[in-house]
């Protein structure tokens, strides 16, 4: 059962990265677009993301619940040493979710819209940035359980170049996912070309920030090459990601949009496999060389019960989630009732 629980944890985090990542990305795109294209992004975003954003964010809740029920050591250690970036990420989550809904549901559309939008776009950058920082710090081996100063225990664990560059990388990945996702949802060719251009920019951004991750790792003596190329699974995943990236650019050049979305998700999944596989099972590394392993899970009965709860829960959840996503992405012509607004 432990493996079932670990698999659910892994899949939940991956789905959060892919689905909520595209969601954050839409906000990131809005930040980097001109006034006119902002309107297009926004229109598409409410049509596509509106119905599903809450469901997308549930993957985070599921991951957290799995962590604190199944792996309390990891959950509490992260909560103690990474308190500050976690709080900042929560601020991002609060600001983003509320601003998104307020903007849509405010009965009067006036100057307030500008304020909601501003909060929404900045929070859309901040949340994945800190998510990346947190993920980067967990694996970077800088968590200092023996520190004797405030800064040593609660700040230098995460305020380093490596976590920061992982955060930046995450932001670009999110923007990339969103722009790819929206290419196919656009109604007109000019819109599509616009999203294509942004896909290219975001992809280049991800590439550059990925290089930064390597540079930062080098400077901070983090053995990232060994993580990514030191075992067959990870290196195969990285090579597949690179190959599919080449195919991706080729298809973009040919304007064949159908496969792009799948390729983008594939690349992100491969990167995720590469990093997680090389760390398994020791996902939380301390400065003194110790680590917490996923095998040090909580109580056995609990893991069993949790595993069953997840299996049974997914019978209800998975079909419903996919039907939801399917219903709102498929571009049927609906007999729309026009409201008086």
């Amino acid at each position: 059962m432990l493996y079932v629980v670990i698999a659910y944890l892994w899949i939940s985090i991956l789905l959060y990265l892919l689905l909520a990542g595209a969601d954050f990305g839409a906000g990131i795109l809005e930040l980097f677009s001109s006034k006119k294209s902002k309107r297009v992004t926004r229109k598409l975003m409410y049509r596509i993301m509106g119905p599903i954003w809450e469901a997308n964010h549930m993957w985070l809740i599921i991951s957290i619940v799995i962590l604190f029920v199944g792996f309390p050591e990891i959950y509490t250690t992260v909560s103690v040493y990474l308190h500050i970036p976690l709080v900042l990420m929560l601020m991002g989550i609060i600001a983003r979710g509320t601003a998104f809904s307020f903007r849509n549901y405010d009965a009067v559309k006036d100057q307030m819209q500008i304020i909601y939008s501003r909060i929404f776009v900045y929070a859309s950058v901040m949340t994945p940035l800190f998510l990346g920082i947190i993920a980067g710090s967990i694996v970077s081996g800088k968590i200092n359980s023996g520190a004797d100063s405030f800064a040593g225990a609660f700040i230098t664990d995460w305020l380093n170049w490596f976590p920061l560059s992982v955060g930046l990388f995450t932001v670009f990945i999110c923007g990339f996912l969103a722009s790819v996702y929206l290419i196919n949802e656009s109604d007109t060719e000019p819109e599509r070309i616009q999203f294509l251009a942004r896909t290219k920019n975001m992809n280049i951004g991800a590439f550059v920030s990925g290089a930064l991750v390597f540079a930062a790792a080098g400077a901070e003596n983090i053995p990232i090459s060994q993580w990514l190329f030191g075992n067959q699974v990870s290196s195969t995943a990285i090579v597949s990601a690179l190959l599919s990236l080449a195919l991706f650019w080729f298809l973009m050049y040919k304007r064949r949009y159908g496969l792009l979305r799948i390729l983008a998700a594939f690349q992100v999944t491969m990167i995720f496999i590469a990093v997680t596989y090389s760390h398994f099972p020791d996902i939380l590394l301390f400065r003194n060389g110790k680590s917490i392993s996923l095998y040090e899970a909580g109580d056995n009965h609990t893991i069993k019960a949790l595993g069953w709860a997840l299996l049974i829960g997914s019978i209800f959840i998975l079909p419903a989630v996919f039907y939801l996503i399917y219903s709102f992405t498929e571009r049927k012509i609906y007999p729309v009732y026009h409201e008086q607004e």
């Binding site: 119905p51 609060i94 307020f102 997840l310 959840i317």
Partner: protein, 444 residues
């Protein structure tokens, strides 16, 4: 304020904030399901407008509830890591099922809010109902986690170790049923009174009377029934607290000395120094009766509880008084209204009855906050009754006071934003939904 107090205040603030939104999120879907049902059955456009107007308001509350709930699931670890390390695996069961319930709720909400005129009408109606059912289920589950903190079970505590963990038994701990029942009724009463009151206010202002009268009627029925049942369920809770958490019972009744034929006291100012309560009204023997169903039985007072294990008396006592007082008031209003309905009296729609409901807008939510204060403060100094002290559970990180200020500022701004948005929604009802009923609208 030290870090420990700051952590407790931050927890209380976040929960006190979240509970308002979760009550609304649990209950409004049922109100909407009723009006939606009337619309589908009668094709009276007013009901469709009510459903839509409510669902727009509710979307705002849902988003706020969802983000504040997300914050809570992190805060448990951010503020109480020592507690979560041991408690997580034991009381995690309701939380993991709750995760499923939230998920279903969020999915159904997507279908419901964005699915107008897109799906089969009854499928659409059903998704709205699912939102309510899964919301209520998640409320019940999370309260079962809380009742486990009040009355831990499902494990053996031996020499500081948590052994023989049985997460299912922990979930169905002896207190879960009372607490879940009481909380669910509270959610219906609080939300029902608030919604009914707002619509009553609009009727009094003679705005869109048809719209507001029908909305009022849906909300008030739920509110009245819940308010009448609530004191009975509260009595059950009190009896349970008397058996399992005598310290909390003694504090909420400010009972300093153990005795027989103990009176129930109403109001009063507890005087901790001299161990007595001033200016209280006493009803002889009633507390003995409430706890043991015997007017002459013994009730444990604070003198039987070690000083270091005693909860703060004054806060717990006042919280209990506020809750019970408002509960009685709400029950009275509910009786008045329901008897008007049953005997078909004209006065049930008169101005003074409507004014009564306007006056009662905040009562339910104040009672909810008071009830939670009683439950949580009355459990002190324990975070896990009898096993772990709150002070042992708190995070080692200093400077919690600053995150407390941060969260306070954020929640206050959010509260203002939500009120502002709601005000605008209500103001716009006239513009958006005030259509003469004889206009022939295309069927959906």
């Amino acid at each position: 304020m030290n870090d420990f107090l700051a952590a407790r205040s931050q927890m209380a603030l976040s929960l006190g904030f979240h509970i308002i939104f979760s009550c609304i999120g649990m209950v409004m879907p049922f109100f909407m399901a009723v009006s939606h049902f009337y619309w589908l059955k009668t094709q009276n456009i007013v009901y469709r407008n009510i459903t839509k107007a409510w669902s727009k308001g509710v979307a705002i509350f849902f988003a706020t509830g969802a983000v504040s709930g997300t914050v809570l699931s992190f805060e448990l670890g951010l503020l109480w890591p020592e507690f979560m390390k041991h408690a997580g695996p034991i009381f995690g069961m309701p939380f993991s099922l709750e995760g499923t319930a939230f998920f279903i709720e969020a999915i159904a909400l997507g279908f419901f809010l964005y699915g107008w005129d897109r799906f089969n009408r009854w499928f659409h109606w059903f998704t709205g109902l699912v939102v309510g059912i899964s919301g209520l289920a998640s409320g019940i589950l999370v309260v079962s986690a809380n009742s486990w903190m009040n009355d831990p079970s499902g494990f053996d505590y031996v020499n500081g170790q948590y052994l023989n963990i049985d997460p299912i038994k922990a979930m169905f701990n002896p207190g879960w049923y009372q607490e879940a029942l009481h909380m669910s009724l509270a959610a219906f009463a609080a939300t029902g009174f608030a919604v009914a009151g707002v619509h009553a206010m609009m009727i009094l202002r003679r705005k869109n009377i048809n719209f507001h009268t029908r909305a009022f009627k849906i909300a008030v029925i739920f509110a009245a029934i819940a308010a009448i049942l609530q004191p009975f369920s509260g009595d059950k809770s009190a009896r349970y607290v008397g058996q399992r958490q005598p310290a909390k019972l003694a504090a909420m009744e400010a009972l300093y000395y153990t005795g027989n034929s103990v009176p129930l006291i109403i109001g009063g100012i507890p005087d901790n120094k001299n161990k007595k309560v001033n200016y209280a009204i006493e009803i002889p023997g009633l507390l003995s009766f409430m706890v043991n169903r015997d007017f002459h039985s013994t009730v444990k007072g604070l003198d039987r509880i070690l000083p270091e294990d005693q909860p703060p008396v004054a806060i717990t006592h006042y919280a209990f008084q506020v809750m019970v007082g408002l509960g009685m008031l709400m029950m009275l209003i509910a009786f008045i209204y329901l008897s008007g309905v049953i005997f078909q009296k004209k006065w049930r729609n008169s101005k003074w009855v409507l004014r009564l409901f306007v006056f009662a807008i905040p009562t339910g939510f104040i009672a909810v906050e008071a009830g939670w204060t009683l439950t949580e403060v009355g459990r002190q100094p324990w975070i896990l009754q009898g096993i772990m002290r709150t002070s042992e559970a708190v995070t080692p990180m200093p400077g919690i006071i600053y995150t407390f200020y941060l969260f306070t500022a954020v929640y206050i701004s959010l509260a203002f934003a939500v009120i502002f948005l709601l005000y605008r929604q209500i103001k716009m009802v006239g513009k958006i939904y005030d259509i003469p009923e004889n206009i022939n609208l295309q069927k959906n």
